[in-house]
């Protein structure tokens, strides 16, 4: 059985003669139509894609209706498809030559025009383009071969040469041809549209209930994200913000540290530089991002909220790429270079961030800098291969020294927070028709040093995963994972800072942590309509003092309610169906500090495990190719909650203090804060999420997401709103590719207000919500061998106000002006 889509093949000739009576043309005429072919190979409809000269359009449409094809096949089955057909009519000669004896007046073709057609900017050869030359009354044309080469035999004289290719702009050039000589040329033909982020569209089968997958421009050119794939998650349903600038989402009512940020399934200890900056992985490594607001499969463990999984390019790529990006806050480079003889591809990237330069315009009391690196080697092929991936990052924050003189215009700065980590991950895989294996070892180092923490940890994490496919409808996954982590605590950095609270007090005597996990999961399609995904994971955690066990059974079900006829989408594809879907499962999580810092990924197990029971039901409806609606209702029960991020005061008599951790005035020492953070609570969240999405590789793309939600915590035997509960979450994301290599992007985000404590009680009122509008403009310049992308990204360009702390709203704008070169 052939895998994937086998396109239809024409039966008989598809030649279309020059229409009789059509107006005489100087240049070739190109007509493009879309032909709809049914499962029997019959043409059911022909649509003109771009109207031109009526006589030529009519000739092509009528001729195409008479075409016949062998049926297209998808996984061996005949399916209806639509295809684009292009007809080029060459201008007829001035007078019809007789076949046997050309007129004596016609000059001999004793000159040659030979050359290559290359695409401007990429130097890719242009195959199948029509090259025409007009010399006097003679018109000669040919097609370029796979290397873009062509050869025209012409009479000597002045020639007007044109190149036609539907994806490219008309190319026109004049050449002087000399008798008995060969002129060799190299033509650079400009494409109509260039995209920095071309993606291969894959037909990913639906296997989860709540996953939203984003790729290409959807993750790298969204306004307000600075091109960072992971920041796009904040625009998706179910995601509320603590503060819109902080990329720590409150997903379906769970505290930010309950949402995991992973890279190919491995936790990244510090995803965002300086907590709010760009992510620590160069965007070129990221192929796409999967977001699970709930109902994540059993292979994802350790989080009671959502899962954000960045997928790196998973195969060895053979094209070279050099990407250099410089903007107001950072400079970076990415190089991908294949070594065919060694059978490997090496990718390397590094960035250095200098946000302090821009910040210094506003204040000299803070200094920020960061760097990161990635080095990756991929080898092998689809059947077997390996990857070695090393990456790391370092952030440094410097603030005014405690001994600085008051009013000093240039106060001395001292290190306030330094966080860095390194990871080396080695992966090997093998794939066959029935069995796939993936084996990984991760070695890591984490360190955070600040006024309230000095933590170092070492990590070793071996993992083995086998996927067995006994039948085409059943797939069984088994995974074993271990984690061994060693911790050491030191003295915090600044002895002069009041040590009201030291994270070391939370960590206590945590010295070693051992985690053993086992996952067993099946993906079963008992009929073409049903997909069932039962799974269970068991996590055993031990820290030399306590042992805790989490057992997470999970079940996902999908039902193909209807199959719709959608132009351009095979009926058998998951993208053509209306799906009903449901998921339920238990999710455990080790106790984790409220802010993600390297080394603070797990707190002592004496606090216990967090647990959530997640459930959801939903529907997916496709409207057209790449255009769909998703609706999902969810309910999550969180019991217990630990290290829950809270900000609101218990009583209105306690003045708002603006701290991220609500401190009761009666709590003045570290034990009190520890008690508040480690107190077990109960929570629940429920709501409805809507996502209308349009995907397009080169047109208008984007999505509209809306969430109606309620997140609550149990307090004094009644349910009250959680401090970060926002009833309405609305996001509009639009990207438009315009002619002449412009791209415009707009993001609008509205989140209704958070609860506030008033005289009527705890969280009895609501503060104002916020509206933020971001704008991004990209302009691409094309040279012969490279592309240069200029971009302006204005985050909150209208300086709309947002509450930073109780009683304090700020107006801000974050502009980014940058240039990116790709060679």
């Amino acid at each position: 059985m052939a895998a994937g889509l086998v396109p239809p093949k024409p039966i008989g000739s598809t030649a279309i003669p020059y229409p009789k009576g059509a107006p005489r043309q100087k240049d070739p005429v190109v007509v493009r139509v879309e032909i709809f072919v049914d499962a029997r190979g019959q043409v059911t409809k022909v649509e003109l894609l771009a109207p031109g000269i009526a006589a030529f359009d009519k000739a092509v449409v009528e001729a195409a209706r008479r075409f016949r094809f062998t049926p297209a096949r998808y996984n061996g089955k005949a399916v209806p498809v639509n295809l684009t057909y292009k007809q080029t009519f060459m201008p007829p000669p001035a007078s019809a030559p007789t076949k046997k004896t050309p007129p004596a007046s016609q000059p001999a073709r004793d000159s040659q025009l030979a050359g290559r057609l290359l695409e401007l900017g990429t130097r890719r050869p242009l195959e199948g383009a029509t090259v025409s030359a007009v010399v006097g009354e003679q018109i000669v044309s040919t097609k370029s071969d796979s290397a873009g080469r062509f050869l025209l035999r012409l009479p000597a004289g002045s020639a007007r040469v044109t190149v036609h290719s539907w994806a490219h702009k008309l190319f026109v050039q004049k050449e002087k041809l000399v008798a008995q000589q060969k002129l060799e040329v190299k033509y650079y033909v400009e494409r109509k549209r260039y995209s920095l982020y071309e993606t291969i569209v894959r037909d990913r089968r639906r296997m989860e209930v709540s996953r939203v997958s984003l790729r290409g421009r959807e993750v790298k050119q969204i306004a307000g994200t600075f091109g960072d794939p992971f920041r796009v998650i904040q625009t998706l349903p179910g995601t509320a913000s603590v503060i819109s600038l902080l990329p720590f989402p409150v997903v379906r009512g769970a505290t930010p540290s309950s949402t995991g940020f992973l890279l190919d399934g491995t936790r990244v200890p510090l995803l965002y530089h300086l907590l709010a900056g760009p992510s620590v992985i160069h965007p070129e490594f990221i192929d796409g991002v999967d977001f699970y607001p709930g109902g994540a499969p059993a292979i994802f463990g350790g989080y009671t909220g959502g899962i954000v999984n960045g997928r790196t390019h998973n195969t060895r790529r053979t094209d070279r790429l050099i990407d250099i990006d410089v903007n107001l806050t950072q400079a970076g480079a990415f190089v991908r270079w294949p070594f065919p003889d060694a059978g490997i591809t090496v990718s390397a990237a590094g960035r250095y961030g200098y946000p302090g330069l821009v910040l210094s315009l506003a204040t000299n009391e803070i200094s920020l800098s960061y760097w990161d690196y990635q080095l990756r080697v991929d080898g092998g092929n689809r059947s077997a291969g390996f990857t070695v991936f090393a990456y790391g990052a370092r952030d440094a924050l410097r603030t005014v020294a405690p001994n600085a003189l008051p009013g000093d215009p240039n106060p001395p700065l001292v290190p306030a927070l330094t966080a860095h980590f390194h990871r080396i991950e080695a992966r090997a895989y093998h794939r066959s028709a029935r069995l796939e294996g993936l084996y990984r070892v991760v070695l890591g180092y984490n360190h955070s040093l600040g006024a309230q923490a000095n933590v170092t940890s070492w990590l070793l994490k071996p993992n083995a995963q086998l996927v067995f496919k006994p039948t085409p409808t059943l797939q069984v996954l088994a995974q074993i994972e271990n984690r061994i982590q060693f911790y050491s605590l030191g003295e915090p950095a600044s002895g002069d800072t009041p040590a009201d609270f030291n994270i070391g007090d939370l960590i206590g005597t945590l010295d070693q942590l051992y985690v053993g996990s086992a996952v067993l999961e099946a993906i079963w399609r008992p009929s073409p309509r049903w997909m069932l995904r039962p799974g269970v994971r068991v996590d055993v955690l031990h820290d030399l003092k306590d042992t805790v066990v989490g057992v997470d059974p999970r079940l996902t079900a999908r039902f193909r309610l209807l199959t719709r006829d959608i132009e351009g989408v095979p009926r058998e594809s998951d993208d053509s169906a209306i799906w009903l879907k449901a998921a339920v499962g238990i999710h455990h999580q080790p106790p984790r500090f409220v802010i993600p810092l390297p080394g603070l990924d797990t707190m002592p197990l004496k606090y216990g495990l967090l647990r959530a029971v997640q459930s959801s039901v939903g529907v997916e409806v496709p409207f057209a190719k790449g255009f769909s609606l998703g609706a999902e209702g969810y309910f999550s029960y969180l019991d217990p909650t630990l290290f829950d991020l809270t900000v609101n005061v218990d009583d209105v008599n306690n003045a708002a203090n603006g701290s991220l951790i609500a401190i009761d005035p009666t709590l003045t020492n570290a034990e009190d804060i520890v008690k508040r953070l480690t107190e077990a609570g109960t929570g629940r969240a429920y709501g409805l999420e809507l996502l209308i999405r349009r995907r397009s590789p080169d047109g208008v793309y984007g999505w509209l997401s809306y969430t109606l939600s309620r997140a609550e915590r149990r307090r004094d035997n009644s349910w009250v709103a959680y401090d970060f509960d926002r009833t309405h979450l609305l996001n509009l994301v639009v990207g438009i590719a315009l002619p002449r290599r412009w791209d415009l992007g707009l993001r609008l985000q509205y989140q209704s207000g958070k609860p506030a404590t008033t005289t009527r009680g705890y969280n009895a009122a609501r503060r104002d919500g916020y509206l933020r509008i971001d704008l991004r403009v990209d302009k691409r310049a094309v040279w012969r061998g490279w592309l240069l992308d200029f971009y302006v990204d204005l985050l909150n360009f209208a300086l709309l106000p947002e509450e930073l702390a109780p009683g304090q709203k700020i107006r801000y704008i974050i502009p980014t002006l940058g240039v990116r070169g790709r060679f």
Binding site: G115, R116, L120, V163, K169, L170, F171, V172, Q173, K174, L183, E184, V185, K186, Y187, Y188, V189, E190, R320, I322, I324, A333, V335, G350, Y352, S369, W371, Y373, V652, A656, L738, P739, R740, W742, L744, A756, T758, T759, A765, R766, V777, K779, A781, R784, G785, V792, L794, F797, A798, L799, P801, P806, G807, K809, I810, R811, Y812, I813, P815, F823
Partner: protein, 237 residues
């Protein structure tokens, strides 16, 4: 250790330079790009997107006691050329004011501007939209009542004693004359002179909230301004 990032950056740059595709000119092949298929004037007058970036310098005069100052900043203009005579632009101005005791902070505006192309590169624009001011610390004395003296929001009748700092938005209007020289088919540049009027609803938060409603307690003033600025713009099509 401090040198490490610089070393990494230098090594990366050296690697990049080393790997750059060599511009090998094939002596036998004549490299050609396409000849233009339209005239330059046709290109600039045809329907399509235009983006402009400008640097500007000017002044803002406060009326009714509102503080004024010099403005330095930039302008982003996004628009559509509709035909030979008309364009429609959205213009975003961001200007820094650094006048001790006067206006000190960010002045911004966003206006929608129908633009008439009068003759050659000369154009006239009239725009209306929003305009705002964000000040941090200004050195101005605080207005009475002081922040710690009020327990409810308060709006001053005028700006005769301006707030110690302003954060707010209001209405803005602009009139602009511009002359651009074509640098080629893709870009043009030239000077512009503009007159501005702005009416800003300023607010200073006291850091406290109404205990019954959790509404921030603020003091408000309305600041009227007029101004003029000179800018130099580069526009791409």
């Amino acid at each position: 250790m401090p040198r490490q990032p610089a070393t990494i950056a230098a090594a990366a740059l050296a690697l990049v330079i080393a790997l750059l595709p060599a511009a090998r000119a094939d002596a036998k092949e004549h490299a050609r790009a396409s000849l233009p298929t339209t005239t330059r004037e046709q290109d600039w007058q045809s329907l399509g997107l235009r983006i402009g970036l400008a640097a500007s310098y000017g002044g803002f005069i406060g009326l009714d006691g509102a503080p004024g100052g010099h403005l330095v900043g930039g302008n982003l203009r996004i628009g559509v050329r509709l035909d030979a005579r008309w364009s429609l632009y959205a213009s975003f101005n961001y200007q820094v004011a650094l006048s001790s005791g006067g206006l000190s902070g960010l002045r911004y505006s966003g206006t929608l501007e129908p633009t008439w192309h009068v003759w050659r590169g000369l154009s006239l624009s009239v725009g209306l939209g929003f305009g705002g001011i964000v000040e941090a610390s200004t050195g101005r004395a605080d207005a009475t009542p002081l922040a710690n003296e009020i327990d409810t929001s308060y709006t001053f009748p005028d700006a005769s004693t301006p707030l110690s700092r302003c954060s707010g938005v209001g209405l803005a209007a602009v009139v602009r004359a511009e002359y651009r020289f074509q640098l080629g088919r893709q870009s043009s540049t030239g000077p512009a002179v503009e007159l501005t009027g702005q009416w800003t609803g300023c607010a200073v938060e006291t850091g406290n909230e109404e205990p019954d409603t959790a509404e921030p307690i603020v003091r408000r003033q309305w600041w009227p301004h007029i101004g003029a600025s000179f800018s130099w713009i580069v526009v791409w099509r």
